[in-house]
Symmetry: C2
DNA sequence: ATCGGTGCAAACCTTTTGCACACTG
DNA sequence: CAGTGTGCAAAAGGTTTGCACCGAT
C-alpha cells in the first residue's frame, strides 16, 4: 500500500514536455476523462465533448485516445462484446467487476492476486507487462 | 475440486439432444475446434474448414460460433486488439498468458487465483458467472 | 414435407486514414 | 512560419443479417 498520492493531475504538462501540442479538443477530452468516474466509449466521450465544443469530431476522439494511451494517461478496456471503453489512469491500479445485468463497472484491487500473477508468470518464464482481470457477475440477492 | 473428468467429447450428442441439427458444416467446424490446440479466429477456422468443404461460408462459421458458445461448447476470447478467437471448452478451466512479441498464447491455471476471485466478488456482493484473466508478457531472458 | 440451416451479398458497427485546411508553439 | 492537429468523408476491419434456396429430421 503506502503508494504516495501522485499528483497525477498534470497530464497537460506531461504531454507538453513530451512535445505534444495542447489543442482545444485535447484539453476538452482530457478534462472529460479526468473528471468522469466511469468508463465511457468513444461515442460517449464525443457526446460529452460536443457539449463543450460542437465541432469536435469522432476521429479526434480516437486519435486522442491513441495518443493518451501511448503516453500512459489512459487505459483502453475491451469488455466482452462492445466497443473499447476508456479510463483515465489514476493513482492506483485496479481491476474490474462487470455487472452482467446492468453493465455497471465496479473497480476493485487485490494485492494478493497481483502477487500470484507475478509468481505464475515467473514460473512460466515471463515478465508481465500488463494484465487484464475482469469478473463478470450478477448481484447476489440475499436469500 | 474433484470435478470428475467429463467425457466432454460428445458435443454432437449434446447438441442433438438440445434440438440442434447436425449439418455437414457444423460437424466439420466442431471437429476443427475439438482437434486444435490453439485459439483460431473466425477466418482461420474458415480457412481450415474450407480445406474439407470448400463451400462453407464465413457467415456459417460465425453463426456456428454463436451457437456453440450459447451451448457452452466453446469460449470466445477477445484478446487486446484483434478479432475474437475461439477455443473449445475442455475439461478444466484455465487462463491465458499472451506473449506480446509473438502472439503465442500459453494456458495456465491457478486454483488460488480462482479462490481469491470468488472471495472478492462475494465481498462486493456478487456471484461470479465467469471471468477473464489475461497476462500480457515478454519472455524473460536469463541474465 | 417441414422448418431450420446455408451461401451470398449487403448492412452494420467500430476504428482508422487520406486529404486539405486550421491552429499551436 | 513550420509543422502538427483537425474535420470530413471514405475506407478498412470484424461481425451480423435478409433473403431465397437447400437439406436434416
Amino acid at each position: 500500500m503506502t503508494t504516495e498520492a501522485k499528483q497525477s493531475l498534470d497530464f497537460e504538462g506531461d504531454l507538453r514536455r513530451a512535445g505534444i501540442r495542447i489543442t482545444r479538443p485535447r484539453r476538452i477530452i482530457l478534462g472529460i476523462l479526468q473528471e468522469t468516474g466511469d468508463h465511457p466509449d468513444a461515442y460517449e466521450i464525443l457526446r460529452r465533448a460536443s457539449a463543450l465544443d460542437a465541432s469536435i469530431s469522432l476521429s479526434t476522439v480516437y486519435r486522442t485516445m491513441k495518443l493518451l494511451e501511448e503516453h500512459g494517461a489512459i487505459q483502453r478496456h475491451a469488455f466482452a462484446g462492445g466497443p473499447s471503453r476508456f479510463e483515465h489512469t489514476g493513482e492506483e491500479h485496479h481491476d474490474h467487476l462487470i455487472d452482467v445485468e446492468t453493465g455497471d463497472v465496479i473497480e476493485f484491487r487485490s494485492a494478493r492476486i497481483e502477487k500470484l500473477q507475478d509468481e505464475i508468470a515467473r514460473e512460466l518464464g515471463y515478465d508481465i507487462l500488463h494484465h487484464r482481470l475482469e469478473l463478470y457477475g450478477r448481484k447476489r440477492r440475499k436469500n
